[in-house]
């Protein structure tokens, strides 16, 4: 079982957008790592997030909850959380939970960053 990893970088398609590349196993235990990185990013004043789930092996409901937990604050600063790289299975989970009514998913990072419409 691959450990959880998260890589954060400015998007190549718009330096003001922040890309979170998640990998491994995101569950009730490893989610605290992700929440820590979320907090750091918000403290740095970055609120335009693109979350890449393409390398994620597993996500539990607690892992999904992490995005719900920060969404309000991200949006209150004029930002948003966009998802890219969803597997068909993850798309189904998003659909069943109703995530698709809250979050927008995109086919590619470039598309998501463009949607932010940042200067």
């Amino acid at each position: 079982m691959a450990a959880f990893s998260v890589e954060i970088k400015a998007s190549a398609f718009g330096r003001q957008a922040t890309v979170f590349a998640l990998g491994g196993h995101l569950d009730a235990v490893t989610v605290s790592q992700l929440e820590g990185r979320f907090k750091e990013t918000m403290e740095a004043g970055q609120y335009h997030w693109v979350v890449d789930l393409s390398q994620l092996d597993y996500i539990s409901s607690a892992g999904l909850g992490a995005f719900i937990g920060v969404l309000e604050e991200v949006r209150s600063h004029g930002g948003d959380i966009f998802f890219v790289g969803l597997s068909p299975k993850l798309q189904k989970i998003f659909q069943v939970l109703g995530f698709l009514r809250i979050f927008r998913i995109f086919a590619a990072e470039e598309e998501a960053v463009r949607e932010f419409g940042l200067p």
Partner: protein, 515 residues
């Protein structure tokens, strides 16, 4: 809980063994014994040396006298002048230690003697042990012997009396050894007194020294006893930078980690206790029986993954004779999951009674839950209301996995109305739709949580919806009574003892009738 009794057990150990002979006493005894032995050997050696020296001195003195006696008396022995010879003997006898002095002629006949009555007799030198001496002149002898008259230890000397190379006779004399013995005795007394003094001082010193050396050991012992008695706050103060200092500091370290381990254990026990309380609360909130509804059979199965899971199910009889029921999954396990479940259950129960449409019930429930639930936590919930009179089943799905209907006429059908999990979106974003179906005679309505379809075997393969539905189709033909049991048996057969990751919950309704 088996770990519960452990710390007390380790702390209330048997009473510490009493000290018999302490290290200090042993050390003092060893030092003292060493001193006695070495002082005795030293004294003995010195006495022996002194005796040797005195013996040598006496021997030399005797040799000088006997040589003088022999050489002075030579002319007078030749002419046998008894008066002159007696003078020489008497001169020799002036020496205090002199036992006898004799001048004998060539035949051994005594010509002059301190004991005049023996003149004319044959002189027999007492038998003795010759002293090994270097540089003893030719014809001289020195022997240790006993005086036949007095029985005293003597040194017997003899020297030839010669004149111009012709032997005329022999000079004999003997010196008493009592002088030597007296001196030795006196020396032994002095040495003994000195040895005794040193011994007393030494033993005293040994006792003090061993106490001093052993003091840190004593502190260590007391510290260890205190720790053994359960006082883990004990710190041993040994400042020395030797092995004992190192021992003490590692002892302190050990105590600290022991204390930490104990605190962790207590903390763990506390958490364990909280979990089991939460578990009891949760258990108490689950329905104890399945409801009896005319024309329907109801079965439920719940198996938590850990002590407290996030799943729950509920049956809520409505006043109008309908039955509301739900299967829900709270994101999060342990105490937070349990709290979320308790909250969701109370809210749903209240809203079920005051709303007719399932969609409204979930919307209202979200309105209450969303502001209060911990950020990031949500509840997926499939909520249904069955009217047994009309066999109409209304439902709404708050982000839960689909339900399934299995009927003779239509086969297997997923029931998956759209809707969002409760607690994650504010009311203006929340969405849920209502759905309605009619249950045909003999049909099954199955609600479950993802613990069923996501059950994993040791190869990390998921049980999956396909396997579950296949199992459902197969077992639906046998009696309803054993249906949940068989479904769970299939899951267990698949996972083959791999640890259960998520709660497994199943609620199944069957409308009586054909099939």
């Amino acid at each position: 809980m088996s770990a519960k009794d452990q710390p007390e057990k380790t702390l209330s150990a048997a009473p510490p063994p009493r000290i018999g002979v302490s290290i200090a006493q042993k050390l003092a005894a060893a030092i003292s014994a060493l001193m006695v032995v070495s002082l005795s050997l030293l004294s003995g050696f010195l006495v022996l040396q002194a005796r040797q020296a005195l013996l040598k001195e006496t021997t030399n003195r005797g040799l000088i006298i006997v040589r003088n006696l022999a050489s002075y008396s030579a002319s007078d022995l030749l002419v046998l002048n008894p008066l002159k010879l007696a003078t020489f003997v008497n001169d020799a006898m002036k020496n205090e230690a002199m036992v006898y002095a004799v001048l004998a002629d060539q035949n051994g006949t005594i010509q002059a003697c301190n004991d005049m009555s023996r003149i004319g007799q044959k002189f027999l030198q007492p038998d003795g042990r010759p002293l090994a001496m270097q540089g003893l002149p030719e014809g001289f002898s020195v022997e240790e012997a006993k005086d036949p008259a007095s029985g005293r230890s003597i040194l017997a000397f003899s020297a030839p009396v010669e004149k111009s190379g012709v032997k005329l006779g022999t000079a004999f004399l003997a010196l008493s050894q009592s002088e030597i013995q007296q001196a030795v005795v006196q020396f032994v007394e002095y040495a003994g007194a000195l040895a005794l003094f040193f011994l007393v001082a030494g033993v005293l010193g040994a006792v003090l020294l061993s106490r001093f050396i052993v003091r840190p050991v004593r502190r260590l012992t007391q510290g260890a006893l205190a720790i053994g008695g359960g006082n883990l706050e004990t710190q041993i103060k040994v400042r020395s930078r030797d092995e004992l200092g190192i021992l003490a500091s590692s002892f302190n370290q050990m105590t600290a980690s022991l204390r930490q381990a104990q605190e962790e254990l207590l903390e763990k026990q506390r958490i364990q206790q909280e979990l089991s309380i939460a578990q009891e609360i949760q258990k108490a909130l689950l329905p104890k029986t399945t409801p009896r509804i005319p024309g329907y059979q109801v079965a439920a199965f719940y198996q938590p993954a850990k002590e407290v899971g996030g799943d729950y199910y509920d049956f809520i009889p409505l006043p109008d004779g309908r039955l509301a029921f739900t299967v829900a999954d709270v994101s999060g396990k342990g105490v937070p999951g349990s709290l979320g479940m308790t909250m969701a259950r109370s809210v749903l129960r209240a809203q079920a009674l005051s709303n007719s449409l399932p969609g409204d019930t979930l919307r209202k429930a979200n309105e209450v839950i969303q502001p209060d639930i911990r950020k990031g936590m949500f509840v997926t919930m499939f909520y249904c209301v069955l009217d047994p009179a009309s066999n109409r089943l209304q439902c709404a799905n708050g982000g839960h996995n689909p339900a399934f209907v299995l009927s003779e006429g239509r086969g297997l059908q997923a029931v998956a109305p759209e809707g969002m999990a409760l607690g994650m979106a504010p009311q203006d974003l929340f969405f849920v739709e209502d759905f309605e179906l009619t249950l045909e005679p003999g049909s099954l309505f199955v609600l479950y949580t993802d613990g069923v379809t996501e059950a994993m075997n040791s190869k990390n393969e998921e049980y999956g919806e396909a396997r579950f539905l296949d199992s459902l189709a197969r077992h639906s033909r046998q009696g309803f009574d054993r249906l949940t049991e068989s479904l769970v048996a299939d899951i267990t057969a698949f996972t083959q003892g791999a640890p259960q990751n998520d709660d497994i919950t199943l609620v199944i309704l069957r409308r009586a009738g054909a099939a």
